[in-house]
C-alpha cells in the first residue's frame, strides 16, 4: 500500500544559487493526498501545471516533498534506513513517456533491463541473464533481443523494453507517466493491452499519469483529477466519468472528444488560460475559469469532502 498524505512541493522560482533564499515559489503540489492499494490502478489526470508529474516524482523519491509524508506499507519514507530504501526501489518502479530518451543508447538491452537488479544482490550472472530473458518474453519481445542496442527497435518496442526493466525486480507498484502518449496510435493499443495483461498476471498496482482521458478510462479503477497543484476530485473511475462532481472535471471530460460524431457531450468550453503555479488564484484555484463560480469562490478555498461514498471533491457547490 502506497500512500501520500498532504504532499506539498514548492520549487524556488529563481534558478541558481540565490544567497538570500528565493522569494517566489512555484507551488507545484499543494496538500495532495492519494493512495494506491495492491492490484488497483489509480489514474491521475490533469493538464500542464496540474502537478501530476511532480507527484510522480515524489512517489519515485526523485523529489523530496516540502511538506507532507509518503507512507509505504504504513512506514514513513522519512524514517527509512538503507535497507528500506532498497526495498522501496525494488517494489516501486517506473515507465516514462519518451521511449527514445528512456533507454541509454550506449547500453545493450540486457544491461538496461538488468539495471534495477543492482549490485550486491548475491545474484549470479547466469540468473540475471535468465531473469532478463524471462521478462523480455513477458513483454512480448524475443529473448535474444537482450544482446541488441536500443536503436534497433521501434518506438513501441522500446517502450516494451522500458516496461521489461520496470518488471525485472517483480515490483508491486509501477508508476506510468504518460506511457503511450509518444507512440503511434495503432501501437498504443498494443501497449495498453500489454499493461492490462501484465497487471492481471502479476498482480501489479499502477499509478497512471495521463492527460489522455480515454487511455485513463481504459486502465484505471480509480481516478484522481488534479488542477494547479491540488486535487480536485477523486473516486471510482466509472463513477467520475459518468457523473463528474467538480466543474473542472466536467469541463475536462467534455473537452476530451469521444469517437463518434453524435456522441458528443455537452460542450463546456473554458475561458482563460491554464494557471501559473507560481501565482495561483486565491480561494478556489479554478474560480477564474469556472462557469459556475460564485462570489465566495474567490476568497475561500473549498474543503475536501466526501460527497458520495468513496467520492471526494473540493467545491463550494
Amino acid at each position: 500500500m502506497l500512500r501520500g498524505i498532504g504532499l506539498t512541493k514548492h520549487f524556488p522560482a529563481s534558478a541558481g544559487f540565490a544567497l538570500g533564499g528565493a522569494h517566489r515559489w512555484v507551488k507545484a503540489l499543494d496538500g495532495v493526498s492519494v493512495q494506491v492499494a495492491e492490484g488497483e490502478t489509480l489514474g491521475i489526470v490533469g493538464e500542464s501545471g496540474s502537478g501530476k508529474t511532480t507527484l510522480a516524482k515524489v512517489f519515485l523519491l526523485l523529489e523530496r516533498p516540502t511538506a507532507g509524508s509518503l507512507l509505504f506499507d504504513g512506514k514513513d519514507v522519512q524514517t527509512f534506513g538503507r535497507a528500506d530504501f532498497a526495498r522501496y526501489r525494488r517494489s516501486v518502479q517506473a515507465v516514462f513517456q519518451d521511449p527514445y530518451s528512456s533507454l541509454n543508447p550506449r547500453m545493450r538491452v540486457e544491461q538496461i533491463v538488468a539495471e534495477p537488479l543492482g549490485p550486491g544482490n548475491g545474484v549470479s550472472r547466469a540468473s540475471v541473464r535468465e531473469r532478463v530473458a524471462d521478462v523480455l518474453h513477458l513483454v512480448g519481445l524475443r529473448r535474444d533481443s537482450a544482446a541488441l542496442y536500443p536503436h534497433e527497435f521501434s518506438g513501441g518496442q522500446r517502450q516494451r523494453i522500458a516496461i521489461a526493466r520496470a518488471l525485472v525486480t517483480y515490483p508491486k507498484f509501477i508508476i506510468l507517466d504518460e506511457p503511450v502518449s509518444a507512440l503511434d496510435v495503432s501501437i498504443r493499443a498494443q501497449i495498453l493491452n500489454l499493461l492490462k495483461h501484465l497487471q492481471e498476471k502479476l498482480g501489479l498496482a499502477y499509478i497512471m499519469i495521463s492527460h489522455d482521458l480515454a487511455a485513463a478510462r481504459y486502465l484505471a479503477t480509480r481516478l484522481a483529477v488534479m488542477y494547479c497543484g491540488k486535487l480536485v476530485e477523486t473516486g471510482d473511475c466509472e463513477a467520475v466519468y459518468s457523473e463528474p462532481l467538480h466543474p473542472y472535471t466536467e469541463a475536462l471530460l467534455s473537452a476530451a472528444l469521444p469517437l463518434h460524431p453524435s456522441a458528443q457531450r455537452k460542450r463546456i468550453v473554458l475561458t482563460g488560460e491554464v494557471p501559473n503555479p507560481t501565482n495561483p488564484p486565491a480561494g478556489c484555484r479554478f474560480h477564474p475559469r469556472c462557469p459556475k463560480a460564485m462570489p465566495h469562490c474567490q476568497s475561500q478555498e473549498p474543503e475536501w469532502r466526501e460527497v458520495r461514498p468513496g467520492r471526494f471533491t473540493a467545491c463550494h457547490l
Binding site: L192, L213, A251, V269
Partner: protein, 330 residues
C-alpha cells in the same frame, strides 16, 4: 446548388529520393474540397498526411523531395504549374497554414505586431494606421484580448494556446480561401484544445474558409470535420462524410483503428490491437500496403492494389474486401 469545388487534388504523387531508395510519401492522392468545408486527413506517422499538405503549397523539402505527378487545382488553376513567384503570392493570401508546434512557428525575436503585420503588408500592401487596424482586427478575431497591448509583446510572453491563436491570426489575416492546419492542437492541453477548436469553427463559419485538418485523433475528427479521408502509406484508403465513415467504416484499417482506440465515452473491455509495424515507405510490398497487417486479407490483396469502391454516395474505400461486399450488394 452545385458549385465547383474550391480545391481539386488529382493523383498527387510526392516522392523522396534518398540513398536508401525512393520513399513514396504521397502516392496517388485525390480529393476535393468545397468552399467552407472541413476535411480531416487522418493517419499515423508515415501515412503521408503532412507531406500532402506541404505538397499543396509546394513546400516539400528539396532536393530530396519532389512532386512527381498529379494536379492541384485551386479554383480551377493548377498550382503545380505556377512559377515560384506566383506561388509566393498564393501562399498566405489564398492558402495559409498553421503548424503543430506553436513554439517554433513564431519568431522569438520579433514582436507579435511585427509578425502579423509582415503578412498583411506583404499581401495587402497596407501601411501605417491601416496596417495596424488590420493587425488588431486579425488578433481580435481570434479572441486575443487586450490586442493593442499584445502588439508589442514577444512570443515568450504568451502561453502555448495563445501562441497557436497568434499563428492562426497570422494565417487568417489575409482572408485565405483555404487553411491547412497540421495537427494544430497536438501540443496543447485538452481544455485549451477545446477552446481552440471552438474558435476555429466560429472563425471558419464567419469567414467562409475551407479547412484541411490534419490529425491522428479520431475524436477531433468526429467533433470538427465534415468529411474525412483516412490515409495509410501515402494513399487515401477511405473517404467520406464523417457520419458515413464513423457509422460504417469500410476499410479494414479504419475499422481496426476505431477498434483499437480507447474511448473516453465508454469503458472498453478490450482494445483490439493492430499487429505488426507501420510500413517502410521505401520498400512497400506489391498490392495493398495494409495487407501484411490486415486481419481480413485475401490472397488478391497481396497481388494488386485495390480499386476505389463506392460504398455509398460520397463514400469510397480502396479495398478488395469492400469490393466483393459491394458486388454482393448488387
Amino acid at each position: 446548388m452545385p458549385s465547383s469545388p474550391l480545391l481539386v487534388v488529382e493523383d498527387l504523387k510526392t516522392y523522396f529520393f534518398t540513398r536508401r531508395g525512393i520513399t513514396k510519401a504521397v502516392d496517388g492522392v485525390s480529393f476535393t474540397l468545397d468552399a467552407g468545408e472541413t476535411l480531416a486527413l487522418v493517419g499515423e506517422s508515415g501515412s503521408g498526411k503532412s507531406v500532402t499538405c506541404l505538397s499543396l503549397v509546394r513546400l516539400v523539402p528539396e532536393p530530396a523531395g519532389r512532386i512527381v505527378g498529379g494536379r492541384v487545382l485551386l479554383e480551377g488553376q493548377d498550382l503545380l504549374q505556377k512559377s515560384l513567384a506566383e506561388m509566393r503570392r498564393v501562399r498566405g493570401k489564398q492558402i495559409a497554414m498553421v503548424l503543430q508546434d506553436p513554439m517554433t512557428s513564431l519568431n522569438p525575436a520579433l514582436t507579435i505586431g511585427t509578425q502579423v503585420g509582415e503578412v498583411v503588408r506583404l499581401h495587402q500592401g497596407l501601411r501605417g494606421t491601416g496596417l495596424r487596424e488590420r493587425v488588431l482586427e486579425a488578433l481580435r478575431r481570434l479572441r486575443i484580448s487586450a490586442a493593442d497591448t499584445r502588439l508589442g509583446q514577444y512570443p515568450h510572453q504568451f502561453s502555448g494556446g495563445m501562441r497557436q491563436r497568434v499563428s492562426s491570426a497570422i494565417a487568417l489575416s489575409c482572408a485565405p480561401r483555404l487553411l491547412i492546419a497540421d495537427e494544430p492542437t497536438t501540443s496543447l492541453d485538452v481544455t485549451i484544445q477545446a477552446q481552440y477548436l471552438e474558435l476555429l469553427k466560429e472563425v471558419q463559419a464567419s469567414a467562409g474558409v475551407a479547412v484541411i485538418l490534419v490529425t491522428h485523433d479520431f475524436g477531433i475528427v468526429a467533433a470538427n470535420a465534415d468529411r474525412v479521408a483516412v490515409m495509410y502509406a501515402g494513399k487515401i484508403v477511405e473517404m467520406g462524410s464523417t457520419l458515413q465513415v464513423f457509422d460504417s467504416p469500410s476499410h479494414p484499417y479504419t475499422r481496426a483503428l476505431m477498434r483499437c482506440l480507447p474511448d473516453v465515452g465508454l469503458r472498453r473491455e478490450q482494445l483490439v490491437e493492430i499487429g505488426g509495424q507501420p510500413p517502410d515507405l521505401a520498400q512497400l510490398p506489391p498490392g495493398c500496403p495494409f495487407a501484411p497487417r490486415c486481419p481480413e486479407r485475401q490472397p488478391i490483396c497481396e497481388q494488386a492494389y485495390p480499386p476505389a469502391v463506392t460504398v455509398e454516395s460520397g463514400h469510397v474505400a480502396s479495398c478488395w474486401v469492400a469490393a466483393s461486399a459491394a458486388v454482393g450488394r448488387g
